[in-house]
C-alpha cells in the first residue's frame, strides 16, 4: 500500500476540473494505455493577455496520476503561460504534500502535458507530445532529452531514481547502461573519476595508468559486480590491453563475455578510448 498524503487522497477522491473543455484553445497529451497512465490537458488561454483562463483534464491512471492532474490544473489557472511554464514537477509534488518516490513520474507527466499544451497553443506542435531526442527506453518510450531534464531538475543520481521520475528503465532493463551514461554526462562537473586528456595519456607512466584503471574498477565496476556475487581483479596492463580476471559468480556466469564488454566500455569512457579488455588465462 502506498503512503499517500491527505492532500493526494483529497485530490484523488474529489478531483478538480475534470472533463473536456469545449472551448479549449490548447490541448496537451502525454502517456498511453500501454504505459498504464495518460493525461490529456485542456487549456483556455486569453490571446490578449496570455493568461490561462480555464484548465481541465482527463486522466487514465493511478491515484497519484489523477491527483497530480487535478493539482496541476489548480496551480496553472489564473497564471500567464510564462509564469505557469516555471512550474516544475517538484512544485506539483510539493503542492500535494509530497508523492512516494516511485510515483514521481506522475508529477513529471503533469509538467510534460502542460508543455505539450503550450506548444500546441503556440502552434508549433501537434497536441500529442512530439518525441524529442533519441529514444532511450523503448518499453516506456522515454527519450534522452526527457531523462536529461529530469536528472537536471531533480538532481537524480541513480538508475532507480530515473525510473521513479520518468519510468525509463522500469521495463526490460536493456537501457540501463544508456541511462547511466546520461546521468554521468549531466553530472559531468562533479564526477568522481574524469577521463584522461590526450596529453595526460602520453606523459603518464604505465604505473600511473594502472592506478587510474584500478581506481575506475574500484569505484565504478566492483560495487555492481559484488552485488551479483562476482568480482574482478586487474592482472596486468600491456600497452593498451587491460588483462583482468573475473572472480566469484562472474567466472562461471554464462554472460561473462557481456560483463567483460561492460567493463571495457566503462574503462574506455573513464580512462581512455583505446583500451582493450582481455580476460587473463586462469
Amino acid at each position: 500500500m502506498w503512503e499517500y498524503t491527505e492532500k493526494v487522497k483529497e485530490h484523488f477522491f474529489k478531483p478538480r476540473n475534470v472533463g473536456a473543455l469545449t472551448d479549449a484553445n490548447a490541448v496537451g497529451e502525454v502517456g498511453s494505455l500501454a504505459c498504464g497512465d495518460a493525461l490529456k490537458l485542456f487549456l483556455k488561454i486569453d490571446p490578449e493577455t496570455d493568461k490561462i483562463v480555464d484548465a481541465s483534464f482527463q486522466t487514465f491512471g493511478c491515484g497519484s496520476a489523477i491527483a497530480s492532474s487535478s493539482a496541476l490544473t489548480e496551480m496553472i489557472k489564473g497564471k500567464t503561460v510564462e509564469e505557469a511554464l516555471k512550474i516544475t514537477n517538484q512544485d506539483i509534488a510539493d503542492y500535494l504534500g509530497g508523492l512516494p518516490k516511485e510515483k514521481m513520474h506522475c508529477s513529471v507527466m503533469g509538467r510534460d502535458a502542460f508543455q505539450a499544451a503550450v506548444a500546441c497553443y503556440r502552434g508549433d506542435k501537434a497536441p500529442r507530445e512530439e518525441i524529442e531526442g533519441e529514444l532511450v527506453c523503448e518499453c516506456f518510450g522515454v527519450t534522452d532529452d526527457q531523462i536529461r531534464r529530469a536528472v537536471k531538475e531533480n538532481n537524480l543520481s541513480t538508475i532507480q531514481e530515473v525510473t521513479d521520475y520518468t519510468k525509463a528503465g522500469g521495463g526490460c532493463g536493456l537501457c540501463h547502461e544508456k541511462i547511466e551514461r546520461i546521468i554521468a554526462e549531466v553530472k559531468g562537473a562533479n564526477k568522481t573519476t574524469e577521463p584522461l586528456s590526450a596529453k595526460a595519456r602520453k606523459t603518464m607512466t604505465n604505473i600511473q595508468k594502472i592506478a587510474k584503471i584500478q581506481e575506475v574498477l574500484e569505484k565504478e565496476i566492483r560495487p555492481s559486480l559484488n552485488q551479483d556475487g562476482g568480482d574482478v581483479e586487474l592482472i596486468d596492463l600491456e600497452g593498451d590491453v587491460v588483462k583482468i580476471a573475473l572472480r566469484g559468480l562472474c567466472s562461471s556466469c554464462p554472460s561473462s563475455s557481456l560483463t567483460k564488454a561492460g567493463i571495457e566500455s566503462k574503462l574506455r569512457e573513464l580512462v581512455y578510448p583505446d583500451l582493450v579488455v582481455e580476460e587473463a588465462p586462469q
Binding site: 490541448v27 497512465d37 490529456k40 487514465f60 493511478c62 491515484g63 502552434g123 551479483d228
Partner: protein, 395 residues
Amino acid sequence: MKTIYLDNNATTRVADEVFETIRPFFTERYGNPSSMHFFGGSVGREIVNARESMAELLGASPQEIVFTSGGTESDSTSILSALSTMPDRREIVTTKVEHPAVLNLCKYLARAKGYTVRWLSVDKFGKLDMQEVKRAITDNTAIVSVMWANNETGVMFPIEEISEIAAARGALTHTDAVQAVGKIPINLGKSNINFLSLSGHKLHAPKGIGALYIKRGTRFSPFMIGGHQEFSRRGGTENVPGIVGLGCAARLAMKNFQEENIRVKNMRDRLQHGLLEKVSQSRVNGHIEARLPNTLNIGFEFVEGEAILMRMDEKGICASSGSACTSGSLEPSHVLRAMGVPFTAVHGSIRFSLSRYNTEDEIEYVIEETPKIISTLRAMSPFNVENMNTACIVQ
C-alpha cells in the same frame, strides 16, 4: 465501516477454531517437543496429530509431511534439493506464470548458477500447451516445477498429467499448491508428484507456517540444516502453535470442502455475472471452467487498477490488482501479460478472491458499488470512446 474481505488469495483470516486451538501453546503448553520431560514431550504428541491431519488432507502418509515456514521455503527446498540430488541434470522446466517464489528462484539459478530454465507459455485462457510440456521435459531435466493453481487467475494446471511425463523422463516434479490446498480435493496417494508446497495462511491457519510434501522414496537434501527435527529434513525448533494451527485448519478444510465448492463457488459466479452484466467492456481473465472455485479475475477496460482499488477501499472492499501501479514496479502482472491480455484490460484488472467467511449480502454490495466506481473513473479517462476525438485547436 464494515470490511468486505475479497482478497483471500493474498491471505485469509485465522479461523476461530484454529485460534482457540493454538492459544494454550503460547502461555501454558510452551514446552519444546524435543525435551525429555513430559511438559515438553507431550507437545510432541500434538505435532504428530497435526502431521496426520495434514497428510489426510493431501491423501499422503504422515512421514511424507515436513513442516516449514511457508510456501516460499517449501518451494526453495524442493527445487534446490532436486538440483543437488541430480547433479548431472542441468535443466529446470517451469511456467511463465509462477509465483515469484518459484519464478525468481529459477531466474537466479539461471543467472548465477548456469542452469537452463525452460519457461512454458500459456494461452489466452492461461492454460498450458501439453505438447510444449512434452517437448520441454528432456533427459537433462532435473525438476519440473508447475503450480497447481495460479494465484492471480485461479487457473489450474494438470499437474498429475505433467508429473507422469516428467517421471517417464526420470525428472522430479514439484508443484506450488499454495492456492489449491484447502480449496479443492487433492489426493497424492497415486500421483507421481515428488514435492508439493503449501502455506498455512492461505487456508485459515496463521502466517509463518507451511508444509512440504515429499513423496516417499524421493531423494532429498535439506535446505535448513540443523537439529534432528522433522526427521532431520528441516532443522530448527518446531513452530508448535503454527503446526498445531495448520493441523486444525486442515481438518476444517476437509469438513468444509462441500461448502467451498458449492456456496463459495456460487457467490463467485454471482459476482462474476453481476459485474459483467453491469459493467460494459469488462472481461474475465482466465479459463472459466478450469479455475479455483473462489477466484475471479476481471479486467475493466480503460481504467487503472490502483485507482479502482483506492475507491473500493473507501467503500470497505478489499481486493487486489495486476496493474503496474500497485506493484511498486512499472510492469503490470507477468501472468496477464503471459496470457496476452490486451493492455487496455491488464491495467484495469482486479482480482476478487472469496472464502467461506463471505456472505451473499457482501457480494450484492460489491455488485452494487463496483460499477459506480468504474463509471466515475471512466468518465475521467481520456480513453473513453466518446472522448477520443478532441483535436488540437491551433489558432
